[in-house]
């Protein structure tokens, strides 16, 4: 087999529309809250673990959340700490390429919660970011009730 004939290309598309993944309804109240700049978490009635975003079934004790019970939903602060971070030098979209601007991705733990999420840290120099750094949500001017509303964080200078 020669190098020329080695690759056979069959053009086509990956028909993702053929799949019908159910996204689940537990996030509806969560994203609605974001529109009012309010983060809701759920507290497991079995073991007390606080989830952000909410979880229907607690992976630790397997209790099932009763969505209609008010006491299972708690208001969460928009402040937290950096658990870990990275500065992304390269992008893999379309091959390994150097980035013109390096984003700082962080793992965030909001205050009084037991979970962590990935987010992006804005308004911060590369040498300023550190584990344990105090941060807060950088809310958009008009939150639209989407996960993107709480994807961007900024340093919390005054406690």
């Amino acid at each position: 087999m020669t190098a020329e004939t080695e690759h056979i290309q069959i053009s086509g598309k990956w028909p993702l529309t053929q799949y019908r993944w159910k996204t689940g309804g537990v996030l509806d109240k969560f994203v609605q809250g974001l529109r009012e700049r309010q983060i809701y978490g759920t507290k497991c009635s079995g073991c007390g673990t606080v989830f952000v975003p909410p979880s229907l079934i607690c992976p630790r004790c397997q209790s099932r959340l009763k969505l209609e019970r008010k006491e299972n939903w708690i208001r969460i602060s928009d402040k937290g700490i950096v658990v870990s971070y990275t500065i992304s030098h390269m992008t893999i979209l379309g091959g390994l390429k150097e980035r013109p601007v390096r984003p700082i991705y962080i793992i965030v733990k909001l205050d009084d919660t037991d979970t962590s999420n990935m987010a992006q840290l804005m308004q911060t120099e590369e040498d300023q970011v550190h584990v344990g750094m105090r941060i807060k949500v950088d809310w958009p001017d008009n939150p639209k009730g989407a996960l993107s509303d709480i994807f961007y964080f900024k340093p919390l200078l005054a406690p």
């Binding site: 087999m1 996030l27 994203v31 658990v83 030098h89 893999i92 584990v131 993107s148």
Partner: protein, 403 residues
Amino acid sequence: MRNIAIVGVGITKHVSKRRDVNIPEFVYEAVKAAIEDADIGIRDIDALVTGNMPGFEGVNCPELWGGGYWGGYKKPMLRITTGGSTGSSVAQGAFYLVASGVFDTVLTMGFEKQSDGATTVGLESAGMSDFVAMRAYGMPELDPAGAIGMFVFQAISYMARTGCTIDYFDRAAAMLRSNAAKNPYAHIQQQVTAEDIADTPMIAYPLRFGHTCPTSDGACAMIVTTKEKAQKMAKKPAWVNGWSSCAEEASIAGLHGAGSINIDPFDQRGCKFAATKAYAMAGIKEPQKEIHLAEPYVPFAHQLFLYPERLLLFNEGESFRQFDQGVMHRDGRLPICPSGGVVSSNAIGAAAMIRIAECALQIMGKAGERQVTRDVHTAVAHGLGGQANFNVVTVLGDKPAGR
């Protein structure tokens, strides 16, 4: 429960592209080598356990194609897939089958022929439903750069909690790649220095190109059998004395993982849990003293320090200081990854099985040029998969466990 042993091992030379063979033909090379190593015939095999990451090659039922090539004709066959830990989960599937008394001799194989597929597409297929759900709730576009996007957070946590620095990662990678230079099956066989590694570009701080694994074509197969048969088949079998695995909630990436309790991928409580159970099963009370060699799953350099600690071989935060004293080197007191590790050869479905196979070869004294200086009576192998939430631990010895 019956005592069990590994009596044959077959590993293919790892390369980036094997374009002269198809998937079944490629895996057959490892199967044939394992059967020859055990000096048995395919008729001696009672059942098969296989596994890989099907999405990576785009062949979602590879045993449909290869079952006959691998000796599966008229025999029971199982497939197991758990991400990066696939190879070790597949092997443990065989351990359960033989130890339980269901079958006597089982052929187990793990493979990946990544040149046939698209690894990034495969990774996406593992998380696509999650991504679609996140997009449906308005998550912005993300490019966390593949698997490194998960493990890089672990590297930062390790540095922040222990005081370890990037130059240790450079030296760790240099040791692993130099070990691989003595391994005829390894993909990247480079006699390199820490300075060479430090010269490679940064991918995601603090991990450089030189700290990360390649994508490889590779396959591994092993023959697992009972005590009675092992003593006939092999002069020196590698006894599988303890094994365990632990699934935790996913960490970090994805919508379901995002609401995880496993808030810091540094913790790896699942690895400690699995190790504790596997040591107890093998009758090992003090792993720091009783284990002679380890093959942790190390696709990224910082894990050469993290996982030996989570396998309870060093105290937390101490392993990089032990590394300084040469403890982990091929001639050290406790050699770690004398094969060169996953950072040098990464064929996903094979990689975690090779950790067990390499421990077996060291115990059998068949590791050739990479055989460590010290005597190896006990060894521990580790596989890591999912979003760092599957940990699989296997303890091997040169004598059967007393049970």
